[in-house]
């Protein structure tokens, strides 16, 4: 019993918050002005609590397991959710269904926690669904906008499709190995064609969730249609969680098939980077722009994953930590501007520096971090990913990756240029930023500047891996 509470403490805390919100909702209800700070404090407690009382172990015959690495990954995800709640407070305050929004988001977070901790394919599938379906509802949260419903519809259909493929893959794995336990699958794998087919199906499901090319087509529409709070959750937290469990699946469960998946990873990561970059070049809407940029970023994450060893894990976890700060900062600025002025086109950003220097600097820092330019943390993140990928001595691949960094720099510079250099008769007017959002942007900015330079963070991540 005691073990149960300690090992599942992150999940229990999140569940408790969900129930609290439920009671508030069905009870008398609260005004948004009081409810939102309460939620923010609860989420902060959730983040802080995730760093303490961590114990390693497994429950229910290995169905649920946790290690210090998993606990750290959960902390990153909680941090992401906390920052979103701060950044989007302007939009959230206006929302009529504030408690519902957080109930959905936290349910998805709960699903991700279970997914990362899962020890067999069944619980993995269930938690993956739990982490997807609420997000589709979140995508639909701009209730009066047609485009929002359209995005949600696209998301739910493509998720259903990928779940079908996943289930098919799982049944084939069970059929060929006779087990669904992660610990027992590797010893049963013998590279038979049917097993490889099963693996390809599983891989496809992951590719859908991570929006790896050619399974990325839903991404841009969903990102554009959804409110930015949902978009940033989808692109940062959800992607991070799937990347974590993807590593477990490849490194532990399908370790014997490494030759197969290395080739798949390399091919798909090149495709993802190239397509993501080329499409990002032509975007006019900041949300679609960030959608394609985040597709390209996934291509870089795959470079780290392809290393196939502990350095790969560390580099990916570190990159996602950096990505939380940089991408949320970018989305946060986009949200503040879209809520404050209703403008979402990159052309509208022209001359932004004159009127909103603070937002401009944060956006610039975030974009340079995404592009991987020092002294931002993104530089270290990209460099560790690439040096992990280079351990396989596949230098052609590394050269392609490095060249892709140049293309990505080009389109990030388009936005920077609009902000600082392009002239505009009617720039976006000065926007007042709420204190909470400002705090969150400062946290993100500090994270972007410091996470890389404080070398003990990366060393700490490495020390978490057994």
């Amino acid at each position: 019993m005691n073990d149960f509470i300690i090992l599942m403490k992150s999940e229990l805390v999140v569940t408790a918050i969900i129930f609290l919100l439920l009671f508030i909702k069905i009870g008398k209800g609260m005004r948004n002005e009081t409810l939102l700070p309460l939620i923010q404090v609860l989420l902060l407690i959730n983040v802080l609590f995730s760093f303490v009382f961590n114990k390693e172990g497994s429950l229910f015959d290995g169905m649920f397991s946790t290690t210090s690495m998993i606990a750290f990954q959960k902390s990153i995800l909680s941090l992401g959710v906390y920052l979103i709640s701060l950044l989007c407070s302007g939009w959230l305050k206006k929302s009529e269904h504030l408690p519902e929004f957080f109930m959905l988001m936290l349910s998805a977070l709960l699903g991700m926690f279970f997914m990362i901790s899962s020890g067999n394919l069944l619980i993995f599938y269930l938690s993956l669904e739990l982490s997807t379906i609420p997000v589709a509802a979140m995508a639909n949260f701009d209730l009066e906008k047609r485009i929002s419903s359209e995005g949600a519809m696209k998301m739910i259909l493509s998720s259903a499709f990928s779940s079908g493929i996943l289930l098919f893959g799982i049944s084939l794995v069970y059929g060929t190995t006779g087990t669904i336990l992660f610990a027992e699958i590797p010893s049963q794998l013998d590279n038979s064609p049917l097993q490889i087919l099963a693996f390809v199906f599983l891989f496809t499901a992951f590719a859908f969730k991570l929006s790896i090319v050619p399974f990325h087509l839903w991404t841009a529409d969903v990102y554009e249609g959804s409110p930015i709070a949902s978009t940033s959750f989808l692109s940062v937290v959800s992607k991070g969680a799937v990347a974590f469990v993807f590593i477990t699946a490849l490194y532990k469960v399908f370790q014997p098939l490494e030759e197969t998946w290395y080739l798949m990873l390399v091919t798909l990561s090149v495709a993802t980077m190239v397509i993501g970059n080329l499409f990002a070049l032509r975007q006019k809407n900041i949300k679609r722009f960030l959608a394609f940029s985040s597709i390209a970023q996934v291509g870089f994450i795959l470079v780290g994953i392809s290393a196939g060893n502990s350095v790969g894990i560390a580099s990916v976890v570190f990159f996602i930590l950096v990505y939380v700060f940089s991408n949320l900062a970018a989305f946060g600025v986009a949200d503040i501007i879209s809520t404050g002025s209703g403008k979402e086109s990159i052309d509208d950003y022209k001359g932004l520096y004159k009127t909103n220097p603070f937002l401009s600097w944060i956006m610039t820092l975030a974009l340079f971090s995404l592009a991987g330019i020092p002294p931002t943390a993104g530089f270290f993140g990209k460099l560790f990913l690439i040096s992990a990928g280079a351990m396989k001595a596949n230098y052609t691949y590394i050269v392609i990756v490095a060249l892709n960094m140049i293309v990505s720099l080009y389109y990030y510079l388009i936005v920077v240029r609009a902000i600082f250099m392009d002239k505009n008769e009617q720039p976006i007017e000065k926007i007042t930023i709420s204190k909470t959002a400002k705090l969150a942007l400062i946290i993100c900015g500090a994270g972007i500047l410091l996470v890389g330079l404080l070398s003990w963070i990366y060393d700490h991540i490495q020390s978490l891996i057994q």
Binding site: V311, A314, F368, I373, P374, P375, F379, L383, F384, I386, S387, A390, M391, A393, Y395, I398, V399, A402, L403, M405, I406, L409, Y410, L413, V416, R417, F420, M421, D422, S455, Y458, D459, Q462
Partner: protein, 493 residues
């Protein structure tokens, strides 16, 4: 002496600039900071001379080593030898001159000085790094400032130039990154320059890695045919930006070619030396002839920079001690000279609002100080004895001539021919702008240089003369180090 001072001084200056309230404060803080940097650079020079006499055999002095990341094995390892000391001196000279000539910047003064100092920080850090990762970090740190300086404060097709420069330099960085990773894995998982220098890397691997590194740094230092960002970047940048780009930034590339590519991969260097000689001879001649066709003063200096920087690459590739010494001298000399050149062009442009040679004339009457400086720096550029250009180019030629073999002789002769072309375009440009009748009535009311401009010019002129009249001190500083390089590359003493 604590080397951390060298990067702490610009860092603190940059932060202090951010904290300033008005334009006056910003300017004086930046000036005080750059003066402190200059003093630290001088202190470093004298401390280095003293320390070097005491232990001659030690290659890198004032070393400090802090572990940064355990895996990959990254250390914040810093130290200096004679070459880096000379480079730091150059940087400090250009920085203070750059701060002085930007005194009248009105648009976003605080941001301008902040970015300028940040750019300097990157250069200082680059020259003292002994760890490839840290070196790369500092090299890249200057990309944002360069881009914004040109894009915001530049002139002409500034957005295009800023983009082109950022992307081409990023391309160079990508090559360097792959090269550095190659070195890391072939040399036994270390980024440390001194450790890598002590390991033998198989010649076959060297031949793969060397071109990546040399071409990568070559982009920074305008190696033909990777030079195309130079004319656009330099001509669009604001005055101080051009000074920093040509005076410091291009030297990062040359230093990297020497310290990283040539020094760590001697077999690769020998393998590709002839190709580099051909490319740099082309750059020297092509740059000189292209300059002849230019009508805009900034383009004239930008193209002549391609030609002049070619000499330092030629010197490196000639692989004799004298030639390599000359190559480093050329970097220093060209840094000072071109910074002064751009400063003067900026001063003239501020007054006449044109950079077209044909539209000017007789400036000597109204602007005696500026015109005189322009004259001197032009003479330095064409290699007049007594100025730094002559010393550096002469040393490169003498070193090149030491090589036996028709190929080397022809390359040297071809490069030397460029001096004639240089004389043509320099004398023509100066003659048309400074001498002759005044073409525009409105120029008659122009005022000569202000105190800040005079000071900037005098500081840089002092550097040029110090090398030109008494090159001994620079030679003494560089020669032991280049000897060490030759020992490592050729395996001889």
């Amino acid at each position: 002496m604590n080397l951390l001072l060298i990067i702490l001084a610009p860092l603190l200056t940059a932060l202090a600039v951010l904290a300033c309230r008005n334009k006056e404060q910003v300017k004086w803080t930046a000036l005080a900071g750059s003066l402190a940097q200059l003093m630290i650079a001088f202190l470093l020079y004298f401390a280095f001379r003293q320390e070097k006499e005491a232990n001659e055999s030690v290659q890198m002095l004032f070393q400090q080593d802090y572990a940064l990341f355990k895996n990959p094995n990254i250390h914040f390892h810093i130290g200096v030898d004679g070459i880096s000391v000379a480079m730091i001196l150059l940087t400090a000279f250009v920085v203070i001159a750059g701060v002085l000539v930007s005194w009248n910047i009105e648009k976003m003064t605080k941001e301008f000085y902040f970015l300028l100092i940040l750019l300097a920080l990157g250069a200082y850090g680059f020259f003292i790094s002994l760890d490839l990762f840290v070196l790369f970090f500092f090299l890249e740190i200057s990309v944002i400032p360069k881009y914004l300086l040109i894009g915001i404060w530049g002139s002409g097709r500034k957005e295009y130039s800023a983009n082109k420069l950022a992307l081409m330099l990023m391309g160079g960085s990508a090559l360097i990154l792959v090269g550095i990773l190659g070195l890391y894995f072939t040399a036994g998982r270390t980024f440390d320059i001194l450790q890598i220098a002590n390991t033998t890397i198989v010649a076959e691997n060297q031949n793969y890695i060397f071109p990546l590194l040399f071409a990568g740094f070559g982009v920074f230092t305008a190696l033909f045919p990777l030079h195309t960002w130079v004319p656009d970047g330099h001509s669009s940048a604001p005055t101080a930006g051009s000074m920093f780009l040509a005076g410091i930034s291009m030297k990062l590339g040359g230093y990297g070619c020497l310290r990283v590519a040539a020094y760590l991969l001697p077999d690769g260097m020998k393998e590709y030396a002839n190709i580099i000689i051909v490319l740099s001879a082309i750059a020297i001649l092509y740059g000189a002839f292209a300059t002849m066709m230019q009508k805009d003063l900034k383009y004239i200096n930008a193209y002549s920079s391609i030609s002049h920087v070619g000499f330092s690459l030629l010197g490196i590739a000639m692989l004799t001690q004298t030639a390599v010494t000359g190559a480093v001298m050329q970097m220093i000399s060209h840094g000072l000279m071109t910074a002064l050149f751009f400063a003067v062009i900026g001063m003239i442009y501020d007054r006449t609002h044109t950079r077209m040679v044909a539209e000017m004339g007789g400036l000597m009457k109204m602007l005696p100080f500026i015109s005189t400086v322009f004259f001197i720096v032009g003479l330095c550029s064409l290699g007049l004895p007594g100025l730094s250009g002559f010393v550096a180019e002469m040393t490169v030629f003498m070193g090149s001539w030491e090589n036996t073999g028709a190929f080397y002789k022809i390359a040297t002769i071809a490069a030397a021919m460029s001096i004639v072309v240089t004389a043509v375009y320099i004398l023509r440009a100066i003659g048309q702008t400074v001498m002759g009748p005044v073409k525009n009535e409105s120029y008659l009311s122009l005022k000569d240089a202000r105190w800040n401009e005079k000071l900037a010019a005098i500081i840089l002129l002092a550097g040029i003369l110090a090398i030109g009249v008494a090159p001994g001190w620079l030679n003494d500083l560089l020669r032991p180090e280049t000897g060490h390089f030759m020992h490592k590359i050729l395996g001889i003493k």
